[in-house]
């Protein structure tokens, strides 16, 4: 049955379509005591920037109905230490490594990061995080000049998305994934721009902007006031966006947002995803991805489906 779970993302072949979402799986090592990491389809690491980032002041997380708000602010050790300290462990697993990158400044930072990673043979693909709601682009940056106002995300502007993807595309021959934000009026416009820029694949969704207030103190529950919502609460929104994008673009979609079990994965496939990522559910049950992989195998066997790819976009309307 195993063969039935194989999927392709750009030139990348995954033994199964189940991967860890950026920022929710650390650098994989954090989960080594809980699951057999070798079984995963791929591992997407926490978004890396050129220089180390200390991240946002706490409190950084808070729980909401069936959801989680976070404003970590991309705390990460920077590309150099990432390559030296984090890659060796992941390499030892033999699981495709997808490195998520973001820029604190202009589009040049995406280019230098992509160039740098292009030379690292352990890296299977690069994911452009142009959708993190928890960092603000500085007004001086080139990216800013591509945008209307400060604080706007690249993935909230089709033209900026196109520029960044195009430049990154020139910088690497590795499979390029573009991660989209749901905080937009029409996500298909942005998806189209990423495809036009040369992205091999799309990942959606990143977190939805939200907030929560402690009514006793009248203070926001997150120090940065607003934060990104994830978890089961966002699943219907994510699914709707995957469906909309699937109808509009040709490149494969990695679907995510509130996936907790096999059934939610099947929903994403039927709506048009070619692979899926598990985020917040890793915190609740570290075994989620492993349970999903065996759940998918059982589902295919039970329903006599030879290849999971048959499900992609099979929504009946």
């Amino acid at each position: 049955m195993r063969e039935g779970l194989v999927v392709n993302i750009g030139r990348l072949r995954l033994k199964n379509p189940v991967m860890a979402a950026s920022g929710t799986f650390g650098y994989a090592e954090e989960f080594k005591h809980f699951i057999d990491l070798k079984k995963l389809g791929a591992i997407v690491t926490k978004t890396i920037t050129l220089k180390p980032r200390v991240g946002n002041p706490p409190p950084r997380t808070c729980e909401t109905p069936a959801g989680l708000l976070n404003s970590i602010g991309l705390e990460n050790p920077g590309i150099d230490r990432f390559i030296d300290e984090k890659i060796p462990f992941i390499k030892s697993l033999g699981v495709p490594l997808i490195v998520s990158i973001a820029s604190e400044g202009g589009v040049e930072e995406f280019v230098s990061l992509a160039k740098r990673l292009d030379r690292v043979k352990e890296v299977s693909a690069i994911e452009l995080n142009i959708s993190c709601p928890n960092i603000k682009n500085s007004p001086q940056s080139t990216v800013y000049s591509l945008q209307k106002n400060n604080g706007q995300l690249i993935s909230q502007d089709a033209k900026a998305t196109y520029e960044v993807v195009k430049m990154a595309r020139k910088a690497t021959r590795k499979t390029l994934i573009t991660k989209l934000s749901p905080n937009v009026t029409d996500i298909t416009e942005i998806a189209q721009a990423a495809q036009d820029g040369g992205s091999d694949c799309l990942a959606l969704i990143n977190t939805l902007m939200g907030m929560s207030v402690d009514v006793r103190t009248r203070k926001p529950k997150i120090a940065m006031v607003t934060a990104g919502l994830s978890g089961p609460a966002v699943r219907p929104v994510a699914l709707r966006m995957v469906w909309e994008v699937y109808k509009k673009v040709k490149i494969p979609i990695i679907g995510m947002g509130g996936i907790t079990d096999t059934e939610s994965v099947l929903e994403f496939f039927i709506a048009g995803a070619s692979a899926i990522a598990v985020g917040t559910a890793n915190f609740i049950n570290p075994r989620t991805m492993i349970e999903i992989i065996s759940g998918l195998e059982k589902y295919l066997a039970r329903n006599r489906i030879k290849d999971i790819k048959e499900l992609i976009g099979s929504l009946k309307i």
């Binding site: 954090e30 989960f31 809980f34 976070n70 705390e75 907790t260 890793n282």
Partner: protein, 288 residues
């Protein structure tokens, strides 16, 4: 210390006083590996409400259950003491004996039980409110361990709102610890905060305590930190923060620590309470 994700049977779960509960779980792997100051992360409900696990300190290792006594003397149960505050602890308090809970642990670093300075003088343990929970486990280790190098039994200071909120006085006394009490309303012992009691004790005793171990509300820990630095007594403080994963993956539970970077220029630096903590040395914490 390798953590485990296990399905643990509830041996008992009972209300001890006010809204304080004690839960005993059969969790041999965790019991065998746990250190004082470490915690477990419990899924209180089966569904998504609440979504996240709830962290609770390991209060003691239990050796009660028949399963344990049949096989060996080794403790097979972990015991947690908790206060019902919100949704998660409310649901936990309703879980019944015989049911199973999804538990991850032991997590975090735990107290350093044998700091070198302990060779000369006894330590002081300071418990504020629910912070008493992990200190009983610590006191047991300090008193019972065959390698114990603590010459005198620890002095324990318990702080509570009122007499009826005092926790674990009996347990500490049974271990041979000297216990002093402070209550906010003066209904028992010293009237005022347990940090003021500490100041009073430090001004009267002739020997300095080797180490201060403390757990409790943030403001209390901040005050103890100040006193310990002023008097040059090493202090290990167990901190809390909101946790999403509890296993070091999300970077959500951080506290600010003093940066070791170049003098003069002080940058913010953060450490994870769930991984590098929950126990921190007083001198490394950058209080807000």
């Amino acid at each position: 210390m390798k953590p485990f994700q296990i399905t643990a049977k509830i041996i008992s779960n009972k209300n001890i006083k006010n809204n304080y509960f004690e839960i005993v779980l059969l969790a041999p792997q965790i019991a065998r590996n746990a250190l004082p100051g470490q915690f477990v992360n419990i899924k209180t409900s089966e569904g998504f409400e609440p979504l996240l696990r709830r962290p609770l300190s390991i209060h003691r290792i239990g050796r009660q259950s028949r399963v344990a006594s049949l096989e060996s003397k080794e403790g097979k149960e972990i015991i947690m003491l908790y206060e019902v505050l919100g949704k998660g602890t409310q649901i936990l308090s309703q879980r019944m004996q015989g049911e199973f809970l999804d538990v991850i642990g032991p997590l975090g670093n735990g107290f350093n039980c044998y700091p070198l300075s302990a060779i000369r003088y006894p330590p002081i343990l300071i418990a504020g409110g629910m912070g008493t929970a992990p200190l009983v486990f610590l006191a047991e280790r300090l008193v019972h361990s065959p390698q114990s190098i603590v010459h005198r039994k620890p002095l324990v200071l318990i702080g509570a709102r009122s007499e009826s909120h005092i926790l674990c006085e009996k347990e500490f006394k049974e271990l041979g610890c000297e216990v002093k009490i402070a209550t906010d309303d003066g209904s028992r012992g010293f009237k005022g905060y347990v940090s003021s009691l500490l100041t009073e004790i430090l001004s009267t005793v002739n020997c300095q305590p080797s180490t201060i171990y403390a757990c409790g509300p943030k403001l209390l820990l901040k005050e103890i930190s100040r006193i310990s630095l002023e008097q040059n007594i090493p202090a290990q403080l167990s901190l809390e923060s909101h946790m999403a994963c509890g296993i070091g993956a999300c970077m959500g539970c951080v506290i600010k620590v003093k940066s070791k970077k170049a003098k003069g220029k002080i940058d913010d630096e953060y450490k994870r309470v769930c991984k590098e903590g929950p126990v921190f040395e007083a001198r490394e914490i950058a209080w807000e």
